[in-house]
């Protein structure tokens, strides 16, 4: 009887290890993305949140072809979910070489432990009208940092 209970104790301890390995470790590298949204004449944008590097970013892509340097813009904005306060702003970042898809404008740092969301902005150059189309991408699901 005593042996059975000891065996059960070890089994439970083993399950504890499995819980940590299977659930806690993936949490350290989780990413969440908003759905893509169309904007301008030829672009799509989305928000990115990465709990591994604790950052918000944005991704802009061209529906067909590619954009020369400076055509695709991304500005990651990191928000605290509890209050809706803007915690970090990466500022605008543009593709330095021609690209069909460009993830960038990642923030650095955060505002204490808690849940965060990314609600970021993207831009695409409209060569026909010589201006930037701007798109506020959808909000990502929240992740704990």
């Amino acid at each position: 009887m005593k042996f059975k209970i000891r065996a059960m104790t070890w089994l439970v301890a083993l399950l504890t290890g499995v819980s940590i390995g299977a659930l806690a470790l993936p949490a350290a590298a989780a990413s969440s993305y908003s759905s893509w949204g169309n904007f301008g004449s030829n672009y799509q944008g989305r928000s990115i949140l990465d709990s591994g590097i604790k950052a918000a970013g944005a991704q802009t892509k061209v529906n067909s072809g590619s954009g020369p340097a400076g055509w695709l813009g991304a500005r990651g904005l990191l928000y605290k979910q509890s209050t809706g306060a803007l915690c970090r702003d990466a500022g605008w970042h543009y593709n330095s070489v021609a690209a069909s898809s460009w993830p960038g404008g990642y923030t650095s740092g955060y505002c204490g432990s808690g849940a965060y969301q990314s609600y970021s902005v993207t831009r695409g150059w409209e060569s026909s009208g010589s201006y930037y189309s701007e798109y506020w991408a959808n909000i990502t699901p929240a992740l704990n940092f």
Partner: protein, 138 residues
Amino acid sequence: MALKKTKVTALVTGLGAIGMGVAGILGGAAIANAVSSTEEAQRAYPVETNESGQSYGSNLGLSAEGSPDLVLVVGDHGEDGYVYRDELFSPAPSSPEEALAGQSDKAGAGVVLSVYLSDGKTQVDTFTIGGENARPAD
């Protein structure tokens, strides 16, 4: 007595396993009550008006034009406060060349804004766009 102690150990260890599992789920999965649309954000973070008639609050879920006059931020030194919308969201560059040049100019120190109380006058902190708050470009 020894048997009881073993049972207690098993129970505590089991609860620990459940706790770790829950912590793992909370750490890695999406938070259930987070806002996912402009409508939800407006309900969760209502915008108010100060004595000067300026709107203030969170801009989560709102565009630059739709944001309140004073946007809720966490300052560089951890103080909650507000920055002026028009300082936070400046007009787009007029060409890709200008965009790339501006990006290089701001890469070092970033742009530092004043953070105020909801009155829009009393400064309590600063808020930096870019600079150390941005990761270096790839």
